[in-house]
């Protein structure tokens, strides 16, 4: 089956560009329904399998993707955070021919003033084609803090997506880090509604597209409250015949006074057959705001290369170093050393495999 109208732009543009939305094809018609949740009990967090409390929160990938997950979910978690927790909630799925599909429907509600971190990890442990589809909805109540780190290192014949919907109340803060390295088709959609005054949304997304990979991203931040803040940073590299599409939107609604929204993107291109598509929107119905977007797309900076080579590195090593540096701040956000090492190893393999292009 196919899903249409996925990752749709909040304000569409010329149809012939074929960039207003995307389609996901050849999805499994049905998924094994066992609940594969890997959550272990943590003090201050209650977890149930009732996920209908946040249905009003919209997601970045849209309703069709949500509905597919709702109908097929085999991981269902509703997390209620009543106390701050120091250690991250760690949900890891090592996928293989024995666990070939994880369709997760999850909700996170943080009570006022609490702080919590989640680490979602999806990796492949064999060469079989696997499928991950996830919807995660977050309601960050007043003054609460949610950190969500999503690491996806599935093999290059898989299909995966993570679809987030976030609502932030007064003074709430949500920080999302996404590391997208694997899957033949990888999608991510995030829609953050900054409903409360002084709420704050921060996103750092990194990706490395190689071979035939197709990465499709849609990030939307809707500013409703006063003094709200968005900071979206997307950094990536493309090699082989990889294709990446980024739709990124900061939308200042009327009344969102003194709000600030920043989007930036930096893409390194390593092959003549890559394709990089970017649509950075700023929508504005409020005078008293500050919106900015900056994008830079191209080859590695020759000045930086020259400097590193003058310090004794070969050209290839200098390029590798600059590429690793691009990912390092996101990788350092992973609160688990084993996964950090796995991500670094994955990156190194990808870099070596594409070194001919460098």
């Amino acid at each position: 089956m196919n899903i249409e109208n996925v990752n749709r732009l909040p304000a569409i543009t010329w149809r012939h560009l074929k960039i207003n939305d995307t389609i996901i094809e050849n999805l499994p018609e049905s998924i094994e329904k066992n609940n594969f949740s890997t959550f272990s009990s943590v003090s201050g967090i209650t977890c149930t399998d009732q996920v209908n409390t946040l249905s009003a929160i919209e997601t970045g990938m849209g309703k069709a993707a949500e509905d597919y997950v709702t109908a097929n979910a085999n991981v269902v978690n509703h997390f209620q955070i009543t106390q701050s927790t120091k250690d991250p909630v760690f949900l890891s799925y090592s996928m293989s021919n024995k666990l070939s599909a994880v369709v997760s429907s999850q909700e996170i509600v943080t009570e006022a003033g609490t702080e919590v971190s989640f680490l979602f990890d999806y990796n492949s442990c064999d060469d079989s084609s696997v499928f991950h589809a996830g919807t995660t909805k977050i309601h960050a109540k007043s003054g609460s803090l949610v950190k969500l780190i999503y690491v996806q290192t599935l093999n290059d014949i898989s299909l995966s997506w993570e679809n987030l919907g976030i609502q932030l109340d007064d003074d709430a803060r949500v920080e999302v880090t996404q590391i997208l390295l694997g899957s033949k088709r990888a999608l991510s959609g995030i829609k953050a509604k900054l409903a409360g005054n002084k709420s704050n949304f921060k996103l750092n997304c990194v990706y490395f597209g190689t071979e035939e990979q197709n990465i499709d991203l849609n990030f939307v931040s809707d500013h409703f409250g006063c003094d709200t803040n968005t900071d979206i940073v997307v950094e990536g590299a493309l090699a082989g015949s990889a294709v990446k599409t980024l739709r990124s939107t900061v939308d200042f609604k009327s009344g969102a006074k003194r709000s600030v929204g920043r989007e930036s993107e930096d893409v390194l291109l390593f092959s003549p057959t890559v394709r990089n598509r970017t649509v950075p929107l700023i929508l504005c119905a409020e005078e008293d705001v500050e919106g900015q977007h900056a994008a830079s797309v191209g080859k590695i900076d020759h000045d930086k290369l020259f400097y590193l080579q003058s310090r004794g590195l070969s050209e290839l090593d200098a390029k590798k170093l600059l590429l690793e540096a691009k990912f390092s701040s996101a990788v350092e956000q992973i609160p688990n050393e084993d996964i950090q090492n796995r991500v670094r190893a994955y990156l190194e393999r990808s870099v070596d495999a594409n070194a001919d292009n460098f």
């Binding site: 569409i12 149809r15 119905a285 191209g298 080859k299």
Partner: protein, 472 residues
């Protein structure tokens, strides 16, 4: 009583009185409203089209009937083609001497300063009134260089008929969108310019388009060919008085910049606020050619306007400089498109927009670098100024990069006049009004300096406004 918030951002409406003077509609010939095969054939017959053009019009009508109205941009539901008169011929033939133009038309162009401009600073002038060109003239010394500047109808049957046939609607095809198809079916008027190889036209040519009749459409076609190594600056102005019914402008501008040539195309659009301005402009730029667009959008109820450049030849380049000022009742969707289709091509898009009093301004762009366009560079910068919270300002740019050997930069900013800047200038002795005028003027200055002097003055008049209490 107005609130302080309303008062403080009140920037006055553009003074349109000179544009809004209506002439009595006294057409020599008018077709029925709406769009049918019979109407298209009638226009073709009236204009003595060659057979190929009659067939072209009918084919375009077929395409028009098969295409949908675009829904991705501003609302067009207020535009009903059944109410639009597609062809109105004024009671005069084309003249080459202002004295021969009927008084009521001459007076209109006099008020707009067209004859004066011709005398002082233009190499040639064309003036279109409703559907037909009423005046066309070019200076003798320019004509002596071999420069052809004439109305499209004359070009269609004259010495350059084959050249026109070879290029007409080849860049902008009727199938591109519904309003190009409409244009193909009912086009009338416009200018044809040919600049021979190596000729540098030192002072600009100008065409001015005036739409006087209520409920009318204007569909002029501009075709310019700047041959190898030549240079031309072409200026286009447009205006209309305001009526309570929708008027439609769906012109087409096709520009061919040959090897090593350079063309600057400047537009000051000041249509009335009942106008649907659905205009299409496209340039094809050959090796080492340079295309420069300067575009000011001030009028219209609704605009769709995105001049496009196809950088077909190696080392060709394009610069687009634009300003859009959207006020009460206006929804102006403007921007630019560029396709890098050859190695080492360069493009630079720089735009400013101002939204006030409920106006909606949208910057929309598309930058494509094709796989063969190695070594290409592109930079886009768009800045938007919001003058109140009743208005909207959106930016919708698309970048599609299909090679690694490209250098792409993009930046966009949106904001308002800062209190700090106003207070600083006031602390240096400026009045509040002068401070605000200076800031808005400074915001628009990079555009103004690209315009010919008289247009820069006009633009400053348009935006250098009564800034009563306009601290933002």
């Amino acid at each position: 009583m107005r609130s302080f918030e309303e008062e403080k951002t009140d920037i006055a409406e553009i003074d349109r009185s000179v544009y809004d003077i209506k002439d009595k509609v006294d057409a020599g010939y008018t077709v029925q409203n709406g769009l049918t095969r019979e109407i298209v054939e009638e226009i073709s017959r009236t204009k003595n089209d060659p057979e190929w053009m009659r067939e072209f019009r009918l084919k375009a009508l077929e395409i028009y009937n098969g295409l949908d109205v675009p829904t991705w941009g501003p609302d067009l539901s207020g535009l009903n083609m059944e109410d639009i008169t597609t062809y109105i011929r004024p009671k005069t033939d084309m003249q080459m001497d202002w004295d021969d133009v009927p008084d009521y038309i001459k007076n209109t162009f006099d008020r707009l300063g067209i004859p004066e401009a011709e005398k002082s600073s233009l190499a040639g002038v064309g003036a279109q009134y409703d559907s037909e060109v009423v005046y066309h003239n070019v200076r003798e010394e320019v004509a002596a260089q071999g420069v052809v500047y004439t109305d499209m109808e004359s070009a269609l049957t004259g010495e350059y008929a084959d050249m026109v046939k070879e290029h007409f609607m080849k860049l902008l095809k009727p199938g591109d969108h519904k309003f190009n198809a409409l244009h193909g079916a009912v086009w009338s008027g416009g200018s044809f310019v040919y600049v021979p190889p190596g000729v540098h036209v030192d002072i600009p040519l100008q065409s001015y388009f005036r739409l006087n009749a209520p409920g009318a459409g204007q569909f002029e076609h501009t075709l310019i060919i700047v041959d190898k190594g030549a240079y031309l600056h072409f200026i286009e102005g447009c205006s209309a008085p305001k009526y309570n019914v929708a008027n439609l402008h769906a012109g087409c501008v096709e520009l061919y910049v040959q090897e090593g040539a350079r063309l600057r195309y400047s537009t000051i659009e000041n249509w009335s606020k009942n106008m649907y301005n659905l205009n299409s402009k496209r340039a094809m730029v050959q090796k080492d050619g340079i295309m420069e667009w300067v575009s000011g959008s001030f009028g219209s109820h609704t605009s769709y306007l995105y001049p496009m450049s196809i950088l077909k030849g190696e080392n060709s380049r394009m610069e687009f400089t634009g300003i859009t000022f959207a006020g009460n009742g206006q929804n102006l969707d403007t921007g630019a498109k560029v396709v890098h289709a050859a190695p080492n091509t360069k493009s630079h898009i720089s735009t400013k927009s101002i939204s006030r009093d409920g106006g909606v301004s949208t910057f929309r762009s598309s930058v494509s670098i094709l796989p063969q366009a190695k070594g290409s560079k592109t930079a886009t910068s768009c800045e938007s100024l919001m003058l109140d919270s009743r208005s909207r300002s959106d930016t919708i740019p698309v970048m599609d990069i299909q090679t690694d050997d490209a250098d792409v930069g993009h930046e966009a900013k949106i904001g308002r006049i800062s209190n700090e800047a106003i207070f600083y200038l006031m602390s240096r002795g400026l009045s509040e009004e002068d401070a605000k005028a200076m800031i808005v003027g400074g915001f628009a200055e990079p555009i103004a300096k690209e315009l010919p002097m008289e247009y820069a003055v006009e633009m400053n008049n348009l935006i250098h406004l009564e800034m009563i209490g306009s601290i933002g």
